[in-house]
Symmetry: C2
Subunit: 315 residues, 2 copies
């Protein structure tokens, strides 16, 4: 096991993966407050929304506005999700720093959720790359391989298929690739094994891990992934989120719990945990009818816990 | 990191650490049903109760009866907790296979909870050892070092003090030692570090890890501990439990979630997870007013998950 990374980025995806999975619709002003407070707490990468048709996800219809606001904040990487070329064009126009293109390694989940096969997504990424380059845009393209450990429709997903998709995404022009346990099928040994292989394929372009807490293993899976040198993880404030195709699935790794685990391990995240907990309390007030998760908000920080001095934010 | 152990024992402590922390009092008959079903599901080590004065913990007053019943089941290691020499004498009389003596590495917690200093507990262990040997008894003595990562009264606990107590317990005649994060202060990096050092002191006599899920890290902590070669962990069905001196603290590692994590890692626990989930549903009916925890009961096993053939139970 290599040494743990000295710094880790927690990418806040609550405004996208969280809000798309719940009933409550936050106002644009509330989302802007959330982004501002997350940035003030030290978060340096935020997925602010998704460029999907507003009729499909009305709760994310203000994504362009949120990108425009978030781009005014210093040292913040502004991400969006894009399902197709049309969304990528909007992301490029918005000047988002990064656009994540989801690909489902499970064919069954891919057809149900994206209405495309994995290889059709790869072909779309090639078109996005051409469009990005033609526009002279700096927007990074991240190919996000979901259901990488299995899904509720198909069950197990072959590791070889995940790695094949990863290579295909890189060949098609993705700048980054990431691996997501979309519905909470991963366990730490499987994470360690797959992430080690993915690192050998993609090196530093293997960008991010994304875990759900469906079976209580999100943080254990992050810990296993840390040992493979990956230093960026998606998480959502209060663990909100889920997946419409995963009945019984619970939310994402909780940003505040993850920030605590990393801080207690001596790993710099740039995040002030007390501020993040204060933001959680505020967002919880906006979501009185939703299931919120996480444990730190209830237990509090350990007595005499002292966060090490926060280092320079990680690029 | 050494390879993971091929087999791990989950010691069920729900009948002691769980039931002592909740309001509901189960009948002896219910507890016997629980023990029988846990044994039928493949659990091979169960802490059935505690030899403390019945006026202090009336819910555990039937411990001797439970030991007598559990001793009739084949291949089951029957454990009890004993706070002092008097309890140890009762454990020896009961013919329990193992008695766990709690020691708090936090002096403040030790005085509040046990009304003894750690060194007074060590001296009591020496008296227990003498009594055990004088009786010609086979009951193993396990010194369980609690609040090993900190506590809510004192805050941080020095690693050196934990290791000093461990050496003192071994010197006093404890057959086994274990480490408990009584109130949920551990994080995986701290676990790995302390457990590696403990293994160097106690070798195979370092017997067991005990984690609470106060900050969502119980399973991540087990995973970190597995890498140090420890192959036995306490857990409670439905994660019930807590600590009277830890406000806001949540329960133990959940037996069923832990059994799933280990099974998915290819580690043999001897446990049939479906049977354990059925037992959880039954116990949940007995505890309608208690906070139960864990995630697997809600999410279910992953589709196409196949538990590897259960090997011979681990001695």
């Amino acid at each position: 096991m290599p040494p743990f990374p000295s710094a880790v980025v927690i990418r806040e995806v609550g405004l996208r993966d969280g809000l798309q999975s719940i009933q409550t619709i936050l106002s644009t002003q509330q989302k802007i407050e959330w982004i501002a407070a997350a940035h003030a707490a030290g978060q340096r990468e935020i997925e602010v929304g998704s460029f999907v048709p507003a009729r499909l996800l009305p709760q994310l219809a203000d994504t362009a506005e949120l990108v425009a606001y978030a781009k005014t904040l210093p040292d913040l990487r502004v991400s969006v999700l894009v399902p197709n070329l049309k969304g990528a064009e909007r992301a490029i126009d918005s000047r988002a720093d990064l656009m994540l293109v989801p690909l489902s390694a499970s064919h069954a989940h891919s057809l149900a959720n994206l209405r495309k096969t994995p290889d059709e997504v790869v072909a779309e990424v090639a078109r996005m790359r051409a469009a990005r380059d033609a526009a002279g845009s700096q927007t990074l393209i991240e190919g996000g391989i979901g259901t990488a450990f299995g899904c509720t429709i198909q069950g197990a997903v072959d590791q070889s298929e995940v790695l094949r998709c990863m290579q295909a995404l890189l060949d098609a022009g993705a700048d980054r690739v990431s691996i997501a346990d979309t519905v909470g099928y991963a366990s730490p040994a499987a994470v360690r094994d797959l992430f080690e292989k993915a690192r050998r394929i993609a090196g530093e372009r293997f960008w991010c891990g994304h875990f759900h807490d469906t079976r209580g293993l999100a943080l254990a899976n992050v810990y296993a992934a840390l040992g493979t040198g990956v230093a960026r993880f998606d998480a959502t404030l209060a663990g909100i989120g889920g997946c419409p195709h995963a009945p019984g699935a619970s939310g994402n790794a909780s940003s505040e719990d993850l920030a605590f685990m990393l801080a207690d391990m001596g790993i710099d995240t740039g995040i002030d945990i007390e501020q993040l907990l204060a933001l959680r309390a505020r967002v919880a007030q906006w979501l009185p009818n939703e299931t919120l998760r996480g444990t730190l908000w209830l237990a509090g920080l350990p007595k005499t816990f002292q966060q090490r001095a926060i280092q320079t934010a990680i690029a």
